[in-house]
Symmetry: C6
């Protein structure tokens, strides 16, 4: 089994908040992938959590915590002009 | 499927705390949208979580974490006169 | 439906920690209100969570996170003489 | 009903970490008290959560978050000689 | 009942990260002890949570939050040579 | 029973974000190990949580909190060129 790369580009720095948000989602998913390497099991579980209100909310909590770290790492993109 | 924009205006900076709070709610909802793209499923789930005490509380926890990031990004709106 | 004001006085700054704590509770409740606008439903849910140990604990977790943001915003009221 | 005082002495500052920890527990309990003012109901719920592993763990999570705020407020008691 | 000492040595400062981690676990356990003083009940509950996946995960969440406070208190042991 | 080493190399400092992420996972697992020392029980529980959507999400929340501490400890690897 190829070890899972947990952080794409091995960096928390992104050009914009939107990319930082995408990174937070990706990082959260990669933890699920590294904990459950079987793609088929994950696909089945996707069907479960994507239609379960509490699980969708819980995913949001994980992304919120990951994003708080990424946002701090990028100094909240203060130097980025929207 | 059009990719979901995760952060409106691609910025965490808002004019006031109230707008920051609205952004926190919006960002939390957009994670649910990007995880469950089917609007009909989401509408059904809305009926579930909007009348379930524990789920409403859990949504509040997500918004609280998102807001803590947005508040820090805006330096707690110290430069804003209420 | 009148949009819900999410942060009274549109400011995180309070005169004292006690007021900051009250604001944290108020902000948490306003997220429940904006997610479930129906006052009657909320009143029914109040009866549910106010007598459910796990839900009461979960409310405490939300308030604790909201308060950590408000306390940081007020620099922990270091300039306030109790 | 007398409004509940949410933060004893209206201050997050304590002489030592131990007092800070006691304040965190007290603040967590006062949120339960202000959400469920009926002492008898609370006493019944105490019997529930004090013998439920998951609820005891959840209480610990709340205290941990409250304590992180109090510890930051006291600059981690760096100026206190144990 | 002897009041429970909540923070051994009444200090968050430890010589190394490993000791900081042990302190985080100890502090989490002492909250359970002070909430449920009966050693026999706690021993029974230990048997419950030590073989319940979700409870073990929840304990990990508490320790992670306690540790984040202790790590910040020790400036992440930057002055400690491993 | 040999006491469990909770933090490999007794340091939160890592060369890269990817290593920091691996450390976060490792630290989370070591808390489960120190709470449940029996390897066979843990292996059985692994089969449970690795195929349970909510538990996989909860593990992600723990890793996210651990990682936020490690990232802060490493100053978000600002001095590391990807």
């Amino acid at each position: 089994m190829e070890p899972v790369t947990l952080i794409p580009n091995n960096s928390l720095l992104t050009a914009t908040p939107e990319e930082g948000r995408q990174l937070a989602i990706k990082m959260a998913r990669l933890i699920i992938k590294t904990t459950q390497p079987d793609a088929q099991v994950r696909e089945t579980l996707r069907g479960v959590y994507a239609s379960d209100a509490m699980m969708l909310i819980a995913i949001g909590q994980t992304v919120a915590t990951e994003f708080s770290t990424i946002a701090a790492a990028n100094n909240y993109w203060h130097d980025v002009r929207p």
